[in-house]
């Protein structure tokens, strides 16, 4: 990559089926343009989005992650998003303690009616992550085994 080239971050979005996925769909049908850096993974509910999936994304090369679901009180399953919110609070604290860059995980509520919010969320996140640059810390250690064998690190 030459220095003039713009860094295109890889972003994985974990979204709930009922609100944000439908919202992202609306963005498309409304013909709103937004950054193409995002790969969407659909889940039944934000309550189902396991924190390990986020870690796996970083290990496999994601520079940023979006996690988004229904607004409070709008959960299809009544309280999945409330449970998820609590988990994120704790998860952020642990990631921060371990030195994982919490700025690279963007949480949001995007409803099925908020097509433009989804476009803004993606565009803003891409801009933020672009400013932060590639996230190499995590990937670097992800495929350590071969290196370890060669170095014979005991």
């Amino acid at each position: 990559m030459s220095s003039e080239e713009i860094f295109e971050p890889k972003i994985v979005a974990f979204v709930c089926n009922w609100c944000t996925y439908a919202g992202a769909d609306l963005t498309g049908t409304s013909r709103l343009k937004y950054a193409t850096n995002v790969k969407i993974v659909r889940f039944p509910c934000t309550g189902r989005i396991d924190f390990l999936l986020l870690l796996k994304s970083f290990a496999q090369g994601a520079d940023g992650i979006i996690v988004s679901g229904c607004h409070p009180n709008d959960c299809h399953y009544t309280s999945g998003n409330f449970h998820a919110r609590r988990r994120w609070i704790a998860f952020r604290s642990i990631l921060d303690m371990m030195g994982v860059d919490v700025r690279r995980v963007q949480y949001s509520w995007v409803s099925a009616a908020e097509g433009s919010k989804w476009a803004d969320l993606v565009n803003n996140t891409v801009a933020d992550i672009r400013a932060l640059g590639p996230y190499t810390d995590y990937q670097k250690v992800a495929d350590y085994l071969e290196k370890e064998v060669q170095d014979g690190e005991a």
Binding site: F51, L52, L55, A59, P72, S79, F82, H83, R85, R86, R87, W88, I89, A90, F91, R92, S93, I94, L95, D96, M97, M98, G99, V100, D101, Q106, Y107, S108, W109, L121, N124, D137, Y138, V141, A142, Y144, L145, E148, E153
Partner: protein
Amino acid sequence: MEKLRERAAAILADGTVSLVIGYEEGTKRPRPLFCHDGESARKLIFDSRCFHNLAVYLTKKELVGNGRFAVTATISTLRSIMQLYVENQLSEDKLLILTVDLSGTLREFVTFDEISAYVEQFELKRGEREQEILTRIEGMTREERWKFWQEEMSHCFKCYACRSACPLCYCTKCVVEVNRPQWINPWPAPVANMEWHINRAMHMVGRCTACGACGDACPVGIPIDLITRKMMEDMAPEFGYIPGLPVKKGNALSTWKLDDREQFIR
């Protein structure tokens, strides 16, 4: 101490309990002891050197059987016992607590309310070691913290002593033992180690009572107890309670509040 031994021998003799779990002199420092009779109860000791969290044995059916058992408990052990009670892992009719308070008096607890009232008097504070290392970590930049933990984690060989020593890691099948899908690679490698320790901390949210047993157990000296302790300290203001302190049914992650903090959500 003599009173403790006598009492232990007495409750074993009269059939109140079939087992007393306590401490004996070990080869280097005190270690856990299982007394099945008055004879072995004579070996019991209880002093400030006794650090093992004996609550770890209380959920092991093959050890405690179906009868009633007693445990000589430190404050840390009592906090874990309270949390195990909150999680419906212990019941009053199976358990008898023996402890020696600061004045050297033998105390006995039968109900969880009694334990709760007693434990409440003790503030959960960082010790010297925890304060020193945590202050150092808190003073680091994010990059430095990442480096610090990478160095520490490079020593982890996944003996799972942290898991085995933790009274609250009582699952019969741990997530690392699940292989469909294989969430966390079972061999020791930097990312797999990191994922394991983050995972352990996540599963301890609202449950860890900061007893430090995991850190004590780690044979390669990783201060893993500080990950969960820091998380516990951070979460106390968020969720409004500290695990193992005054009885509150329910766990932080199995409940929620409408006004949980969400300024980080866009």
